[in-house]
């Protein structure tokens, strides 16, 4: 930004700039860009430093510093009764939700893509809008109430169902985009050879839109893995709580936080989503396409 103000006078002086000012301007804007990018890098890396150093430090403090290397801190994880089981709970919630969301969204998206349901687009956009404005926070009271009536308080199934309901509209929307983009000729020829719709779905449509299903699955897992509010509202007691909730209780409850436990647990809890992200971005590229881009 600063380059713009610096170069402004040069421009008004010379409507058709000569070679020298252009070169100077070019260099200045390059320098400005590098400075800006380094500042950005610092801003985004700074909070993450602690996560990289503290788990391996013999005496972890709140300050990020060069660690005296040790792996002993990871033993604290085994000593805590809820640390490892909460990660399993997270896996359970994330896998359950992802399976539900991918299956139901694929079925619905396929039906919406291939059959003219009256009011299809209005329905889809209405639901998408609803899902983006009716988030967990604005409806936490009735969600709590609903879970109470359906006997889903302190039930992991309840958390899975509620999270699925919230993720489904966007998932259907994304998958319908993928389904619309696949040619229908395979399905037509399969039908000529007498395949039933479910067979066509399983053997032809699913393999073709597999990248779309993977995208939605990964997106659902990432959403559930980090979700704090819904399990925080619905699950009582630490036995069923996922890592998001246990993490929060580790630094808010019981006086002085155990930094060995906190740092190693943070790292272990963050690692799966970070690895998933690396995998997805190296395989498919972490770019927008389809639904959001235009």
């Amino acid at each position: 930004m600063s380059t713009a103000t610096r170069t402004a006078p040069a421009r008004t002086d010379r409507p058709a700039p000569g070679a020298a000012p252009v070169a100077v301007r070019h260099v200045l804007s390059r320098i400005g860009r590098y400075v800006f990018l380094c500042a950005v890098l610092g801003f985004f890396a700074l909070p993450l430093l602690w996560l990289a150093t503290a788990p391996f430090d013999e005496t972890p403090t709140i300050t990020a510093s060069l660690p005296r290397f040790t792996l002993d801190n990871f033993r604290a994880l085994l000593d805590n009764p809820y640390a490892l089981s909460s990660l399993l709970n997270s896996v359970y919630l994330a896998a359950g939700t992802a399976v539900l969301v991918v299956t139901f969204a694929a079925l619905a998206a396929y039906a919406l893509s291939r059959v003219r349901v009256p009011g299809r687009d209005a329905l889809l956009y209405g639901l998408l809008l609803l899902s983006s404005i009716v988030t967990g926070t604005a409806t936490m009271v009735p969600l709590f109430e609903l879970a109470f009536r359906l006997n889903l308080i302190d039930s992991r199934l309840g958390v899975i169902l509620i999270l699925s309901g919230g993720l489904l509209p966007a998932a259907i929307f994304i998958l319908k985009d993928f389904m619309d983009a696949t040619p229908t000729s395979y399905e037509e020829s399969a039908r000529v050879f007498g395949a039933s719709p479910l067979q066509i779905m399983r053997h032809i449509v699913v393999p073709v839109v597999r990248p779309g299903l993977a995208t939605v699955g990964v997106w659902a897992v990432a959403n559930v893995w980090g979700n704090f509010l819904v399990p925080f509202l619905l699950l009582r007691g630490p036995e069923k709580a996922p890592a998001a909730v246990i993490m929060y209780t580790l630094y808010t409850e019981g006086g002085q936080a155990d930094l060995r436990l906190l740092s190693t647990f943070s790292l272990l809890y963050s690692l799966p989503v970070a690895l998933m992200f690396v995998f997805v971005s190296s395989r498919y590229g972490f770019r927008f396409h389809g639904g959001i881009k235009r």
């Binding site: 209005a122 943070s266 970070a274």
Partner: protein, 313 residues
């Protein structure tokens, strides 16, 4: 709902491929198609539409978590709403929420996200991957982990920030709670805007920028006259989504829990405290409904602007 949904509908039509709408290639039939739709729709209806409708009903009752009103909630009409509108705590919470959305979403995330995307636009190689990697990392890590990372960063005595700046003893979370969560949320959510603008900037022809530069246009002029008109739709979509997300964001609760003295108590935190900690479910639902209305207004304003863009285009 109809007027709400039509503008994006039109926006998408132009992109839809001709092959997309081929009717029923697999011989699904209307009955089976309905069968395919039912499981998903039941979940959406039960856990999305019903809670939304329920919010409206609960908002006019004096329902409580415990006590007499828990057994026999009474309809109290608009009492909850008049109480909310005259409540000082609600009004200050609303103002804080607007500050939060404006500061961290509209200015912070969209501004920084665009600036990063623009600075990286014709760059490939390690620097780009490094910057993008860190920005994305801050976006994908679980919120309770990043919340603690920020608590540690801003800690009064041992925080890395104070150590770096050489000003130990500055209690960022106590003295500047709003600023802290605004900067936090900017850090947290910039990745989405960055990626969206990076995709959008690829649609701006390089030759147009080159022509403008040769004609002597400065950076601002290039942005205003060449870049912005072409990505206006992306900007509006981006602002719509991040405003809604930020408005409903619960993550600041993990850092400041609304404190100190409710000075960072944005609406989601306020609802949580009133309804679930305080047990006043009816009053909390009324505030939730006000939040839903505000969300709807935000969505309508942006969609209206998006629709106007389509008409003029």
């Amino acid at each position: 709902m109809a007027p709400v949904t039509s503008p994006p509908d039109q926006a998408v039509k132009g992109r839809r491929r001709a092959t997309g709408a081929a009717p029923d290639a697999a011989g699904l039939g209307r009955a089976r198609a309905t069968g395919f739709l039912v499981p998903g729709m039941v979940l959406i209806l039960l856990f999305l539409v019903v809670p939304a409708a329920w919010t409206i009903y609960l908002g006019v009752t004096n329902y409580r978590l415990t006590g007499l009103a828990a057994a026999n909630p009474e309809v109290v009409g608009l009492d909850n709403y008049t109480r909310a509108l005259t409540d000082e705590r609600f009004r200050s919470s609303l103002v804080l929420t607007l500050q939060f959305v404006l500061g961290s979403a509209v200015i912070g995330q969209a501004g920084l996200g665009f600036a990063i995307a623009y600075a990286l636009r014709d760059r490939r190689g390690p620097l780009r991957r490094l910057v993008e990697g860190f920005v994305l990392l801050s976006w994908i890590l679980p919120s309770s982990v990043v919340a603690f990372l920020w608590i540690a960063l801003l800690d009064r005595d041992g925080g890395t920030l104070n150590a770096l700046l050489g000003i130990p003893g500055t209690a960022w979370l106590l003295d500047h709670p709003m600023l802290s969560i605004i900067v936090f949320n900017t850090w947290r959510g910039t990745a989405f805007s960055m990626m969206l603008y990076a995709a959008a900037l690829e649609n701006v022809p390089r030759s147009h920028l080159e022509t403008a530069r040769l004609a002597g246009a400065g950076t601002w002029q290039q942005l205003r006259d060449v870049v912005f008109p072409r990505i206006r739709g992306h900007v509006l979509t981006n602002l719509l989504l991040i405003s809604l997300w930020t408005f409903n964001d619960f993550a600041p609760f993990l850092i400041t829990a609304g404190g100190p003295e409710q000075r960072s108590e944005i609406l989601p935190v306020y609802v949580y405290k009133v309804a679930l900690s305080g047990g006043e479910l009816g009053f909390g639902a009324a505030i939730s409904f006000v939040m839903l209305l505000i969300n709807l207004v935000i969505a309508l304003v942006y969609l209206r602007m998006l629709g106007r863009r389509k008409e003029t285009a």
